[in-house]
Symmetry: C2
Subunit: 316 residues, 2 copies
């Protein structure tokens, strides 16, 4: 596809999108969070990474009752955020509402009802079995947010996600090589243009339902080449079929000019990923000798090292 057509498609996507609520407030927050740490003239500013997490939804009706969802628990994004903060990064966590949050991965699904019990008629206490997990979640989350290391921005639809990603890219542009994008969200490939969408609930007639979905324009290209041309960019490729995984990851690396593509297979994604780069593939494994360890631990270590090299390359 030539770049004129891509630009037309992108314009048409954003023009057809419903306007973002609170966009001024979000822009203010972003600028405050990022500008505080603009790289000094020596280029020694704090690094900032935008971690995207969870799946986007595609509304099928304007007054949204039905939508298509890309499943993702958000576990990868939440875990990676913790390791980036540990490595000294500031993190903009762009996450799907309701998905897994940093420092909360070991909590049960419904923490309030499952972690607490009645002490007597008027009071309650944390259950002994969940005491450490609850304390850790509250303490670490508080330290990260109050310490200015973590900014959380929620989205639900593909329209919100891409509009917010564009705003974040714009606010991080001045960080140049200190900026990183770690695009772990499961973004829908297809959408229904807002204007061609049914205004009311689709009626179940007597036959099957036929639907036609349009391709979402490939925003990775414009993120990489126009929105933040200097940022270090990592995208993800998830497949259920291991046979085509590395080939697809390699194609994405070249097509979107990513610095790395993290290839993962649905069934083994918590144990193993492959970091695909121009210089070859590196397999990253979870440390099985340490119970409760994460594959994100060695993964973020590797990416931080690669980011350092990238920053150094720019200063020579």
């Amino acid at each position: 596809m030539d770049s004129t057509t891509l630009h037309e498609e992108i314009n048409s996507f954003f023009e057809s999108a419903p306007p973002l609520k609170d966009s001024v407030k979000i822009a203010d927050k972003l600028n405050q969070f990022v500008q505080f740490d603009s790289p000094s003239s020596e280029g020694k500013g704090r690094r900032v990474v935008c971690v995207t997490s969870g799946g986007t939804t595609v509304p099928l009706e304007q007054r949204c009752v039905r939508y298509i969802d890309n499943f993702s628990s958000g576990n990868r994004g939440a875990a990676s955020t913790e390791y980036f903060i540990k490595a000294g990064y500031k993190v903009i966590f762009l996450y799907r509402r309701g998905t897994c949050q940093p420092y909360c991965r070991s909590l049960p699904e419904d923490p309030l009802l499952e972690c607490f019990e009645l002490a007597d008629d008027s009071d309650f206490q944390v259950r002994q079995s969940h005491s450490e997990a609850v304390k850790g979640a509250i303490r670490n989350n508080h330290a990260a947010v109050a310490g200015g290391l973590l900014l959380k921005i929620p989205f639900t639809t593909i329209f919100e996600y891409l509009q917010m990603l564009r705003m974040i890219a714009s606010s991080m542009r001045s960080l140049e090589r200190h900026a990183m994008f770690y695009l772990a969200a499961a973004v829908s490939d297809f959408y229904v243009p807002w204007k061609s969408m049914a205004e009311h609930k689709i009626q179940s007639a007597s036959g099957p339902l036929d639907m036609r979905l349009m391709q979402v324009p490939k925003m990775l290209s414009v993120l990489r080449t126009e929105w933040t041309p200097m940022a270090f960019c990592i995208s993800f490729k998830l497949e259920t079929d291991s046979k085509i995984l590395l080939e697809k990851a390699n194609m994405a690396l070249k097509k979107y000019k990513m610095h790395s593509v993290v290839a993962n297979e649905l069934l083994t994604r918590k144990e193993e990923v492959t970091v695909v780069t121009e210089n070859g593939n590196i397999s990253v494994l979870r440390d099985k000798t340490r119970p409760g360890s994460d594959v994100e631990d060695p993964l973020i270590e590797l990416l931080v090292k690669n980011h350092s090299t990238y920053i150094e390359d720019g200063s020579t």
Copy 2:
């Protein structure tokens, strides 16, 4: 549609569904919960209602990455459960994972991180502003579950939902007129048969995506006439277009032989609903003079009264 065709469609739906996990465990729980209160020979047993809540998902791929979701917060089902328990009912709460829970409606989205704060380095406490909401949630939930008045069963897909509903109906059959179904869940009208589903992730090729979805067979008919022919059955009709709402609700009442259909419009559903019955329509309004009141309060009051009449009619 004649009933032979419907039965064929229903058989084909259940045969094509992936088998339910833990079905033996769920059946045991259900039987314990229900049998404890079978109506005595005088027909004076406790009433049991099955409240369904939240939207079902329709997987588009067998190894599920993408699916269609019917949006529903689950607020209606959670609120109604509270009022049914208050009215003396035992409630089987069949709910979509992650949706609103009874007694938790006034909590923020992420209760653990938003309701608690650090007291010092090693301890934490509930924030004053959320103290009552948190205490109420833990106390009331504990009282309902420990008191044997509330059994919670989670689902995600349309396949799980309908298989579980059939199990619940089978366990409640012996309660005869003391059983009620309050079907507030937003159930998908369309699905992709499991066997015709793509095994792997659908690849985004170069064009638009065309999809064909089949109609989910109308299980309300068989629930009402075969699974639990004596139970008092309430279904819901949600529309975004008020002009067709009452007409559609009336059609559902007749087609599925419901005892009532609760008609609600997306934008006003928290303020007003219409209970459609054979004997006419009754409009139910939230009591606006009481801050924080629910439309479910007068709604459940009305339905409990109608259920009483239905039980009395059966004993004459």
